[in-house]
Symmetry: C2
Subunit: 276 residues, 2 copies
């Protein structure tokens, strides 16, 4: 029976433990987190017990790094050095190039497969963890080909209920900049621009479902996004430039009274998002 160590037992790490248990996994699941978090995670049934990072690394068959990006990058050299030669180390960070590069330059014989489960919710922490968080959601795994380690991670992701798919770290960061990081920046810029108006209170008071939906992502804290922005800067800047050009074009079209083309292009894309 294999054993799993979850390093950083928050929403994602805790949900992974719960999902494995729900799927019938009977091996040991340990957690590396603060004592308070370990207590909550054990109570929730997400892990069996807590241990130190060192202890976790030397015995686990699968090590999931589920802390914030900067912390994962900081942990990787030690984890890769301590992990068993037949262990698989993976992670759940929202950007992949910096993490995969850190793993590649670390010394050790364990195999690293970067990952990004495309799941989440508005609340954080193991208190919000749920066994069905990954159900039916994409779980991106990074690699050039389906080698043994990637195949093993496909199985773990499927066991958690997700739909694993393979792409390179470069592809991941480019596509996710557009599908996730840009929408966040747009929601934040919209809400920040409205916050600076002298009549911001009247605007908020007259918000309909449209503005409410468009400012949902803007509730996000800067802390996680600081990490994402600093490890995917070039792709995010490229997306912001493309959006800036699109907005400038739309401004001209509003001025000229000819908005049909961008509205049609946008509606086509919005329908494609909903076709899946």
């Amino acid at each position: 029976m294999r054993s799993v160590a979850i390093v950083g037992v928050g929403l994602i790490g805790g949900s992974f433990g719960l999902a494995l248990r729900k799927a019938g996994f009977r091996g040991e699941i340990t957690g590396v987190s603060s004592p308070a978090t370990i207590e909550k995670a054990v109570q929730a049934g997400a892990i069996d017990r807590g241990e130190s990072l060192e202890q976790a690394c030397v015995h686990a068959d699968l090590i999931l790094l589920a802390a914030p990006i900067a912390r994962i990058i900081e942990q990787l050299p030690r984890v890769m050095a301590l992990a068993r030669h037949d262990a698989i180390v993976t992670d759940a960070g929202s950007t992949k190039r910096a993490i995969c590069a850190a793993a590649a330059s670390a010394r050790g014989r364990a195999r690293f497969v970067g990952g990004h489960p495309m799941a989440g919710k508005e609340t954080r922490g193991v208190e919000s963890a749920e066994a069905s968080l990954f159900a039916g959601r994409p779980w991106i795994l990074c690699g050039a080909e389906r080698d043994d380690a990637v195949n093993a991670m496909f199985e773990w992701a499927e066991r958690a209920g997700a739909n694993p798919l393979l792409m390179t770290a470069e592809e991941h960061d480019r596509v996710i900049a557009a599908a996730s990081h840009l929408p966040q920046m747009v929601s934040t810029a919209l809400a920040a621009a409205l916050a600076r108006r002298p009549d911001a209170a009247a605007v908020a008071a007259n918000a309909g479902p449209g503005l409410t939906g468009m400012t949902r992502l803007a509730l996000s804290g800067a802390d996680i996004w600081q990490d994402i922005a600093s490890t995917n800067r070039d792709e995010i800047l490229g997306c912001l430039d493309a959006l800036g050009a699109e907005l400038a074009g739309l401004r001209q079209r509003v001025d000229a009274g000819t908005i049909a083309e961008p509205f049609a292009a946008a509606a086509g894309f919005a329908r494609k998002v909903r076709e899946r």
Copy 2:
């Protein structure tokens, strides 16, 4: 018992008829629309019968113009000329300055009170009408003060379940440009920018709840928005300029790794939207 004429029996007009009936209004409700729409509206119970615009104007106590903005502006001179001196003419257009100006320059003795019920849904037409569409939603009425006609419209809006509030047409167009028109333009620009990427299909396939929510408004057709953009151009351009400046600032901050300030401002505004 007073009589109501609804000119343009679509989602808004039909829902107004249904809401009045649900609230116990027993006067006659007539509709001015195409024969096919009239048939559906009578079947739905939104109106009692159809009639011509001329017939409606000469007998109704309340005339609600609920067609698209350009059509309302076109109908206003005839409606104001034909309406009874003690009738109230109102409308449900999404911008107010152009409509109120058209009403002010029309000849006739009826009193005009411009209005904008802040309600809607993704589907259109009388088929989508529902008695509860206005329940608890703001219904903006335009005027400088609470005169008799405005007071009468407050009562009609309350009867339909809405929360009426008074502002000038200028205030309306400025606040609603920010609360409604800008979010639409932002959603459209985001979806159009993504539509133009060579990897648009991969981006759509990897959309999470964030991108899905941010592209919901982008499903809107250009037809209504053409009217809105042309009758609120200056305010929308001002909003787009402010957003462009905010995005340029955010771009610099992503580049410099210091995104905390706009994220905090945005989160504060997003919470304010949800406080109501």
